[in-house]
Point group: C2
């Protein structure tokens, strides 16, 4: 089956917002095994929307429309779609009741134009909106499926997950199942080369590499008649990839982020952690603390931007700062050791570098970063040369620090185990 | 003139990447006063790209194509566009030279397929790519303009800015000029209400409000024959908005962010600043240190996640933690005072709250956040109730902290001045 996305909204045409809905829906459709050949953005204009819809109905099996379901006169996606399929609108009692409840809960009065949102096309499947006032609509006509979704991502995503994904999964013969092997501490081209033969001979399952900042994700997707069968196809490939990439694999669970994996590793080993950041200015601790439940392992962190702060708060020796400079292997090491001593945490990670745009020299260019990790008294330091602007250097530094933390903890425990 | 965007790339159709290029180009076109009615995403497929191009040529004056200019067989945007306009490709000597230099600088060998990127359609304007290997292409044909840009944003944006924007500005009769009045500390609906009469009677210039996290931006856009004239139209509107919104206006400069405005205010008043963060875990210091040159004012910050850290590092009294809890007005105040004392910074800001998903209660629900700001010994505390998930609560807290810092500094100095 082929699918086509139509996003309706003047704010998209004006570039006021980025079309994240299209990326989300496209990814979900790919997971469902639907082939997507076109995505279109069109404004809240009856004539142009009608034309776009008719073109889509000619060339695609499923059309996912999002946006333009609001209560104002501008919003005309539902009216136009109904018109194109020659269907009348009627007041849907369950949608009306939901609207009333929605407003009552918020102690708000319903204005006349709100009732428009309870009108639905004849013969449509109505999808309840748990997070807003516009219901979703599915219309089937001559083998084609027209699906209308509200524009706000906070309404669209839950509705797609709970109602549209299962609906399309049922319509699509067979099932598509994906699993992602997530790697850190390995470059994209090296990862691709190491998996090149597997990627080349791929058919079912397929393997697709995706590069993220400091990470590579390998997504394995299989198609089969039932989920169990698809999983069976994927299993040996995941095993082979884990075999090849060893310690670089930090998870095979789609939902687990690198920071989550690091926090899980700390939790599993009953380790506490602290951070000492210079150029990243708190980005690393912010990322760690984005993980719910991190308070079990993370008690405090330091942002030591000035040399004075590095000396006073972390005990970095003044002669080290004078002799090697704040961006040096020695200072990174002393920062990590000092942070561990001051906080009594089991793991301490320190970042010092030149994020730019100023402050670089030929000996120490912008992008030079030292990261040190101390695990139970043992310190490892690594140097990095990141390219890109201030923001990119900082972002890469944080991912490198998470990767180094993970590596140091794993190494420490394998030594402990094998001792 | 009308413009239409066509983004070429399978990775967009699969949802692997978000189409930020379309948002960027759409915004630029709006600034140029071009009307954009359609945006399309299509894959690297000759037949579908040809069809999409032909449709666009029928209905739009300018077509901006991005992506598919790479060196591989898959990339066929240039070949397809030339074919549609009936033009042959030839080897462009200046592009060839640029390619050679690009590879020489990187000490890389040119492979055979790279030469494909130096081939350009007959009669085309060739745009040098300062950041990659694919040149941009402009073709004019029967009053239509077809513009090909490389897909990577790091190549597309500089090329658009330096070559395409001036080219289109020349082609478009008259000029469009925009200025943005950025507000903080005021809700979207209140801001819209306060400017409703101005927005309603808008024609030239127009006023459009945009809501960001914790901010509202009002963009004023004027059209005139020359830039000077457009600026003259905008000036009284900016003045009126500054008048109405007073202290809530933090800048009228498009490029200045809220964190930049706060850092500028600190620099102007020769103030140093420190942060003491609980639920935001370093996000505030990370945002402040995203501003180049911040080291003049920011020396250190603390992430005090646990009660023990709040006591030990900031001197928050144990009885306060026991009696009021870590998320309380009293503790926020003590955190700010303690941070100021420990760091000797002139300004200290403290954040403590419940980011969720766990840790909430009926008395202290998820989203409850206290922020305290101490300026030269004077402390102000405010409480907030943010909605949304962990990430939203944290993000809103950071913006609220920046807003409060700005407010406290301005108030302190107006008092000093008027005393």
């Amino acid at each position: 089956m082929t699918v086509e996305l139509i996003s309706v909204g003047t704010e998209l045409l004006l570039g006021n917002i980025v079309n994240t809905n299209a990326a989300y829906l496209a990814e979900q459709c790919a997971m469902l095994g639907l082939s997507c050949f076109y995505q279109t953005v069109v404004g809240d204009n009856e004539e142009r929307l009608t034309e776009t819809l008719k073109t889509a109905l000619e060339r695609s099996d499923v059309i996912l429309l999002s946006g333009g379901l609001g209560p104002t006169q501008d919003d005309l996606t539902k009216e136009t779609a109904a018109e194109v399929l020659g269907r009348k609108l009627y007041m849907d009692e369950s949608s009306k009741k939901r609207l009333q409840e929605f407003f009552a809960r918020r102690k708000m009065e319903i204005t006349e134009n709100n009732w428009k949102q309870a009108m639905v096309p004849e013969g449509a499947i109505v999808l309840a909106n748990e997070n807003g006032t516009a219901p979703g609509i599915i219309m089937e006509e001559g083998g084609k499926r027209l699906i209308l979704l509200p524009g706000p991502p906070g309404e669209l995503i839950p509705m797609f997950e709970s109602a549209v994904f299962p609906y399309l999964a049922k319509a699509q013969p067979g099932v598509i199942y994906s699993q992602t092997v997530k790697l850190c501490g390995i470059g994209e081209s090296k990862a691709e080369t190491m998996a090149a033969d597997l990627i080349a001979k791929q058919k079912n399952p397929t393997i697709a590499p995706y590069a993220k900042v400091g990470e590579v994700h390998l997504r394995i997707t299989a198609k089969a008649s039932v989920e169990k069968e698809a999983k069976k196809l994927i299993k040996p490939v995941v095993k082979e990839l884990k075999n090849r990439f060893g310690m670089s694999v930090y998870t095979t669970d789609e939902r687990v982020t690198l920071e989550q994996a690091v926090v899980d590793l700390l939790l599993a080993n009953h380790l506490t952690v602290t951070t000492a950041e210079s150029c990243t200015g708190g980005l690393l601790s912010a990322r760690l603390t984005s993980v719910p439940g991190v308070s079990e392992v993370f008690k405090s962190g330091q942002v030591t931007y000035s040399n004075k702060a590095k000396h006073k708060l972390l005990g970095v020796k003044k002669p080290s700062l004078d002799k090697y400079g704040a961006v040096s292997e020695n200072v990174a090491k002393e920062m990590a050791k000092g942070a561990a001593a001051a906080s009594k945490a089991d793991v301490a990670v320190a970042i010092t570098g030149i994020a730019g745009p100023d402050g670089g020299s030929s000996a120490k260019p912008v992008g030079l970063v030292y990261i040190a990790c101390n695990v139970c008294g043992k310190t490892k330091v690594k140097s990095y040369h990141f390219s890109g602007n201030r923001s990119k250097v900082r972002e890469n530094s944080v991912v490198a620090a998470l990767t180094l933390m993970r590596q140091c903890i794993l190494e420490y425990y394998s030594e402990v185990t094998f001792r």
